[in-house]
Amino acid sequence: MTYSSKEIMVLAAARQIKNKDIVFCGTGISMLAAVAAKHIYAPDCMIFFETGAIDSKLEKLPLAVSDSRVMYGAQVFCSLIDSFCFMQNRKTGSNIVGIIGAAQIDPFGNLNSTMIGNYQDTKARFPGSGGACDVASFVDTNIIFMKLEKRKFVKILDYMTSPGWLTGFDSRQKQGLMTRGPSAVVTDMGIMGFEKESKHMVLKEVYPGIDPETIQENVGFKIDISKATQTLPPNSRELKILREKTDPERLILTKGDI
């Protein structure tokens, strides 16, 4: 069965979600991955949004985290403050998995979703942190979504919006962040992880038909591609549910941008 790079990317992220997880997601493709996880792999996982909607029904795909579609059939409505507190309190904090995207990522998984240029002289502007920096600061398991492009995978960020492993090794703890840095970077060609000690990005998995060298060519810094395994291709059941149940209107699947 043929599939698009966006479809395998969504499914690759969704496969990482387990039934016990409480999934925090942003808009667009990260929301699609969370909903796909619930539909396909982890029906008991709970999706929640920074806007305060907990365990939403999600019968129709929301186009923003404030969309009324996140409110319908939710278990609880809480406030913005509550939703970030769930990431920090001792009972729920460690069960939360964040899924976020960004405009730039560096070798340690730090993210820029704010701007390009000098902060006093902006060349391009993005929306800003929103809750991204908060989730990256607070949760132990954070999955990052990125389209694999040299201009996005850069040695030095123009602006660090959200903390990854900072400068590697134990720098995150030294700065006062008590949780773990990002666990995976899911791209349209493969999945990156972070080396155990140095916390530098490494290639973990390549999608079927993709050459690891091609991935290196699209990353603006050197990564270890020697230990990468191949991702299982999506099967017909996964694709059928994704296309017919998760995004039947193709609101996100067909849009060009990741």
């Binding site: 969309d67 942190s129 600061s137 700065q175």
Partner: protein, 327 residues
Amino acid sequence: MISIETNQKAMCLEQAVQTYVKPGDHLSIGGFTVSRNPMAAVHEIIRQRITNLHLYAHSNGQGLDELVGSGAVSKIEIAYSGNGRFAPTCICFKRQIIENKILVEDYTNFQMALRFLAGSMGVPYLPTTTSLGTDIINKWGFDNKLRENDTKIAAKKLIVMDNPFSRNKIPDKIVLVPAINPDVTLIHTQKADTKGTTRIQGLTFSDVEQAKASKTVIVTCDELVEAGSLNTNPGANQLPSFCVDAVVHVPFGAYPTACFGCYDYDAPFLDSYRDMAATQEQFQQYLNDYILGTKDHSQFIQKACGERLEAIKANPETGYSDQIKRK
């Protein structure tokens, strides 16, 4: 029919904005990206040509973008400026930053929410650990001179300090974020009574903290009911009447953003707005045609939405519309 003469808080939008929003005010707007932006009030500010506003929001979309595009805003403190799928980054916001027409101070959503909460509690700051090690801490948009000269702005963007309660040899760090006390906060809700008792259906976002932190509050509502009639279900109400200074009946007052249970966002309009705001000239044309060229919100809706109005009305069971084309 409710007589507005009997109560001094219930008034028309023109009067509410004229009375409570002044040039140079520090303004906070409620809602979140595509939902419950106080659009009617925002448009009235634009019609009254009130300028030099200092704007606060956590994640705002359409309201923020139209205020910024119209030139009403000089400075902004915010976590996120986007309109969901319709404009991943707000369009006028993006342009005005690149052209250096507005000053921006970037925070995170949790920080902005904490800052409103601090304001509502009457404390000068609240601590958190979010953003340690990032440029949210290191890069400041407002310089010291600006902070010194404007006493309404906090003396510092934030402060990183050692946790005074730490038991560790090398103490852990905390980030202190300063309270916000806006001059005026604009909220749009589904229902309020003529005394100002406010009921928000669905998610409240940070509207409640924003309102409680503010010196004055204007609430616009889709439905205005008799004073006291919301008291039959107090658990559903968020703001007591004494928090609210003006309450204004504006049907579809959040349009073109959504109001849960009442109407959906107008996806075709938000798509066309993206093009209408593409350049400052085009945006000025939009302002002339849609905002300055209409006398009030109902005329604006007639022009912007027209016959689609039926299609955006919410299904009472789900709270959103099944009719609106979202692609």
